[in-house]
């Protein structure tokens, strides 16, 4: 797993005298950077500006496979040029687990104005978000600290951004929570830190998740000025009754206004999240919802079957778990809602979406995601292509090509670890890691690959773990093979994908 010393890039900054050991455990002392790293202080010239990466290297990345062949959008550079030895081949992600530098960065902002009863993400709300005792300022300080510490580790491991073995990030993603609640200048500040410490490729995708309500969506212009290129709106529904029943604060008309604002501010890509199989929903209403959504002319749609899990039962809510315990009210809401869900109805809704969105020119490039050509979420593609990504904030997950690492969900312990009294070095927050063994890695690669419309290479049909199940799945009409020899899920296969995937793990 560790690179041999000889392959380590030269460390060019004295303050990064740290070894790579901290990579695998959050407990490791990240050996505090000496002179307090003021992120706004001009850094060494080498990474002050965006590295000129879009040159020849871009062609060596994977082909623009996510969209339809005649892709007209920005170059599909989701993988910025990387150390060629770290990749299995140009067209397929690595076969063997190997540690690689991050190509994307996820920032978790855990604040919402109020909690939605179905939501599983790490979120705090109410007084923690607004009012005199809010935790936003403390969180932002801690977040900057974590960015610095993680950047120090990356520097030590891969060299500074811009060096040959440390490509700049192709994507930055603010997820939540409701990151649009953060003031525009705070977002701008963080983008700047990221640019400085991790590098941001020119034309990089910078996404902010947003709620459409007037007091939640923030100032689109400020976001655009901060470098944000994409806004993903959590619309969830487009009629007021459903929105209310889901515990959402905004109204249907807010969605239209939010999109108009974003367009006027020059945001290049606008996405909407919608939920189906909601309690009381009907196929007819869903047909209407999709039509309304299309009338808003988004560039991207994420359609999620309402999923009501129980992170407590899954054992994810302990002190180092990546989820928060489910509140009692939410638990009751979920039990009631679950009883009013229906797989048959959900399947019909999904099938309708497949047809309707194709008709409207959208490409279903992943089980739950549709985009107009060139508007595929590069950040999310990085997850599905198993490219390495860094992550900061409570509950955030990172992947380095060989192991998954996460921060614990609890905001207080997150802030406490990263807020050090003068003279004491800050700690990385609590959390955990999981090494992905070669079998799990192989299974993940197939599963994540099949989730996308790009599928996997036909050669996988003769290789484990797919080989044992390929003809069964094909006979059952779950899989088909495209003209260019890719194995992909059929629509039925998407709806029943777990039937295949559970055989592969």
């Amino acid at each position: 797993m560790r690179l041999a010393a000889g392959t380590l890039p030269a460390i060019d900054r004295a303050r990064n005298g740290t070894g790579p050991a901290a990579q695998s455990g959050p407990a490791a002392d990240p050996t505090a950077p000496g002179p307090a790293a003021d992120p706004t202080a001009p850094g060494p010239a080498a990474h002050a500006g965006p590295p000129a990466h879009a040159g020849p290297a871009a062609q060596s990345g994977p082909p623009a496979h996510a969209g339809p062949p005649a892709q007209s959008g920005p170059p599909a550079h989701a993988g910025p040029p990387a150390d060629p030895t770290a990749r299995g081949s140009a067209s397929e992600p690595s076969l063997l687990p190997a540690v690689r530098p991050p190509e994307a960065l996820y920032i978790h902002v855990p604040f919402c104005v109020s909690l939605c009863p179905y939501c599983d993400f790490v979120v705090v709300a109410g007084a923690a978000t607004r009012g005199p005792r809010n935790r936003v300022t403390a969180f932002l300080a801690a977040l900057r600290r974590e960015l610095d510490l993680r950047a120090d580790l990356a520097d030590a491991r891969w060299g500074t951004p811009g060096s040959l073995s440390r490509p700049p990030l192709g994507s930055l993603y603010f997820g939540g929570g409701t990151p649009s609640l953060l003031p525009g200048d705070e977002i701008a500040g963080i983008v700047e830190i990221v640019r400085l410490r991790f590098g941001l490729a020119s034309g990089a995708e910078v996404t902010v998740e947003s709620n459409p309500g007037p007091d939640e969506r923030g100032d689109a212009r400020a976001l655009a000025d901060a470098g944000v290129t994409r806004i993903s709106f959590g619309a969830q529904a487009l009629d007021d009754d459903t929105l209310r029943s889901l515990g959402r604060r905004h109204r249907a008309r807010d969605v239209r206004e939010a999109i108009t604002d974003a367009r006027e501010a020059g945001i290049a890509s606008v996405s909407l999240d919608l939920l189906y199989d909601t309690p009381g929903g009907t196929l007819q209403a869903w047909v209407g919802t999709l039509d309304s959504a299309l009338s808003l002319a988004p560039d991207h749609l994420s359609l999620y079957a309402l999923t009501l899990d129980d992170p407590d039962a899954e054992g994810l809510t302990g002190p180092t778990g990546d989820h928060l315990p489910v509140a009692r009210g939410a638990r009751r809401w979920r039990a009631d809602a679950r009883a009013r869900q229906d797989d048959d109805r959900a399947a019909a809704m999904y099938e309708h979406a497949v047809h309707r969105l194709a008709e409207a020119g959208f490409h279903g490039y992943e089980i739950s995601n549709w985009a107009l050509p060139g508007h595929e979420s590069r950040h999310n593609l990085a997850y599905w292509e198993r490219r390495p990504y860094e992550a900061v904030g409570p509950g955030a997950h990172a992947f380095d090509g060989a192991a998954r690492r996460w921060n614990a969900a609890r905001l207080d312990s997150y802030i406490a670890a990263l807020t050090s009294p003068p003279g004491v070095s800050a700690q990385l927050p609590p959390g955990g890691t999981e090494a992905i063994n070669p079998e799990a890695s192989a299974a993940e690669r197939i599963i994540l690959g099949l989730r996308t419309s790009h599928g996997v290479s036909l050669s996988e049909s003769t290789r484990q773990p797919l080989s044992d199940h390929f003809s069964w799945a094909r006979d059952a009409d779950l899989l088909s093979v495209t003209a260019d020899d890719r194995i992909v899920l059929t629509t039925k296969g998407r709806l029943l994908s777990n039937e295949l995937f559970s055989r592969l793990v």
Partner: protein, 603 residues
């Protein structure tokens, strides 16, 4: 230390479940320093994990206590444990045969229950001296006077003999120990005669081979003796003998009248069976002890490995487990639906559950059990005699059958008199007939019914508890076979007959049962990727149809950075769930489906 025969006492504790037998046993062990109280995990005698979990004693165990009595002498007390569930009365009587006395524990707040009566009758049949103990007198709800009255009127136990105790608080423990010494007779048997040692239990030890529990009728066992098992003819040099205290403590000799263990090094099940007699190979006794009646299996089911290739492992496991539990029977069988497995006979449903669970846990196997059945006698036409079947799939065609006989039981139920009505109704629903009723105290009655055993094994006990708010207790004994108008109900899943789901049912109830079964299977068989029709039929006559609709959706909606590990675990869980199902034709059927008719949800 060798204790003279006159100072040996062999006894059991008998009690209705939860009246405090295990707790009292712990107190006796503690009081005689058999174990250090600090090291004591609660209820030492229940040494199997499964026993702890289910809170019952499954296997008889014997522990040697050394007690210095008020007379200053050291007595050897052999406590022979007995199982506490109705299904195991056969094992109770086997243990009692190794004793001269029994401590009868009765809960002072509950009074006499059905098993109290059954166990006392077993003990009296063996001619044992009974030491009555009223336990839990610390409870505010204890009614010692009422219960002593019951003991006197129902069991003719004089109140002067009753010891008041609280096993929990340690009250009455020394009185009990003194009563064991004073009231229970010492065993008899001449230590100088040729050896006769009755094997009353056994278990298999990985290191020492078969360990048998013996009670010496006469003669003396000595370390390194060469012994012979009189029925199997096997011979062995004794590796070790000793007492359970409760750890194995080796000794050099065991004398007539005493109880102990013998490690034989024998590896073969059949060479040291329960009921066999150990004698000396050099100067053998002229004949073996009478031994035991074979355990009578009442409930039968096929046990199959989930994956066919595990069959040899299952065979080994069953043979090994049989060493520890000779009270189940097994023989190879094959099923069209389930492949190769074993037809096993059990003392009851709980026993079946325990055997299946032990096979799975102790031998790391994934198993599936077919629908349980009782044993039927089938009289054939044209004077071709009669056959016995324990598998409904083997019922001959109707034209060959003159008559079918099924086993009946006499059921004793002790219940508060307010529940007489509901219990009458329950038994009538189950084709039972009411035999009689007597009051054991002003508010409680003992009711007797005769009932087909097949109706009893189908959730009768659960129903009894439900209808009496948990207050009723029951016990049963077999009373022979009776003819009935019975037919075979077959089940087809996705067009294929599933023999392991066949049942023999009464003709009058067959349509109702067929419908219920089909409905329950519809609930229990998970949706598959195609529609699965379910049919119940009698002969070629389909009496119920249901269908499990095709699964339309099984998909993870969101799969982003933090979800990947979580969703992989979810998929692993789904895979494990699938692995726990048996593939019959193209359909995956879970274990619960085969036990569909045992579930309680009677209207």
């Amino acid at each position: 230390m060798s204790i003279p025969q006159a100072r040996l006492r062999n006894f059991s504790i008998i009690a209705h479940i939860d009246h405090g037998k295990s707790t009292l046993a712990d107190r006796l062990l503690e009081a005689t320093h058999a174990i250090d109280p600090r090291q004591m995990t609660s209820q030492v005698l229940d040494s199997m994990d499964l026993e702890r979990e289910k809170g019952i004693t499954i296997k008889a165990r014997a522990v040697r206590l050394e007690y210095t009595a008020n007379d200053g002498l050291v007595y050897g007390l052999n406590l022979i444990d007995t199982p506490g569930h109705v299904d195991f009365s056969y094992e109770v009587s086997r243990s009692l045969q190794a004793c001269e006395g029994a401590i009868l524990v009765v809960d002072a707040a509950q009074g006499i229950e059905a098993q109290t009566l059954a166990n006392v009758h077993l003990a009296l049949r063996e001619g044992l001296t009974i030491v009555p103990v009223l336990n839990k007198i610390d409870l505010p709800s204890a009614q010692p006077d009422v219960v002593m009255e019951e003991l006197e009127s129902v069991l003719a136990i004089p109140r002067e003999e009753v010891i008041l105790a609280s096993a929990k608080e340690g009250i009455g423990i020394s009185e009990i120990l003194e009563a064991i010494v004073a009231r229970i007779p010492a065993p008899k048997g001449d230590p100088s005669l040729p050896l006769q040692a009755l094997v009353f239990d056994s278990h298999y030890d990985q290191y020492k081979g078969v360990i048998v529990y013996v009670r010496l009728a006469q003669g003396t066992l000595r370390d390194h003796d060469r012994v012979r098992l009189m029925q199997s003819g096997a011979e062995a040099d004794l590796l070790e003998l000793g007492f359970f205290r409760p750890a194995l403590v080796p000794v050099a000799e065991i004398h007539a009248g005493d109880v102990g263990y013998v490690a034989t090094g024998l590896k073969n099940v059949r060479e040291a069976q329960v009921g066999d007699t150990i004698t000396s190979a050099v100067s053998p006794a002229s004949e073996p002890l009478p031994g035991y009646q074979e355990a009578k299996s009442l409930v039968f089911a096929g046990i199959y490995p989930l994956s066919g290739e595990d069959y040899p492992l299952l065979r080994d496991a069953i043979e090994k487990l049989h060493l520890n539990d000779a009270s189940f029977t097994y023989e190879p069988e094959s099923s069209v639906a389930l492949g190769f497995g074993f037809r096993c006979g059990f003392l009851g449903l709980l026993h079946m559950e325990i055997v299946q669970e032990r096979l799975e846990r102790e031998f790391n196997l994934d198993l599936i059990a077919s629908a349980p059945s009782v044993e039927y006698q089938v009289v054939m036409t044209h004077g071709r005699g009669s056959i016995t079947i324990d598998n409904p799939a083997h019922l001959p065609t109707i034209s060959e059958i003159e008559a079918i006989l099924e086993p009946w039981v006499l059921l004793s139920v002790v219940t508060p008199s307010t529940y007489i009505g509901p219990l009458m109704e329950l038994s009538t629903n189950r084709r039972g007939s009411f035999i009689g009723l007597e009051y054991i105290d002003p508010v409680r009655v003992l009711m007797k019914f005769e009932l087909p055993l097949a109706e009893l094994i189908v959730d009768y006990f659960d129903q009894l508890k439900t209808r009496t708010a948990g207050y009723a207790s029951m016990d049963y004994e077999e009373i022979g076979y009776r003819a009935a108008n019975l037919v075979k109900l077959d089940v087809m899943v996705a067009g294929e007959p599933v023999d392991a789901l066949s049942m023999i049912v009464h003709r009058d109830k067959s349509v109702a049962i067929g419908r219920t079964l089909a409905e329950r299977l519809k609930q229990l068989i998970p949706r598959q990727m195609f529609e699965v029709p379910i049919q119940a039929a009698i002969g070629s006559n389909v009496i119920a149809r249901e269908s499990v609709r095709a699964m339309r959706k099984n998909v993870v909606a969101k799969c982003y950075g933090g979800d990947i590990t979580r969703k992989r675990k979810l998929l692993e869980k789904q895979k494990e769930g699938k692995r726990r199902m048996k593939r019959v034709g193209s359909v995956e059927i879970p274990q619960e489906a085969f036990l569909a008719m045992l579930r309680t949800d009677e209207n």
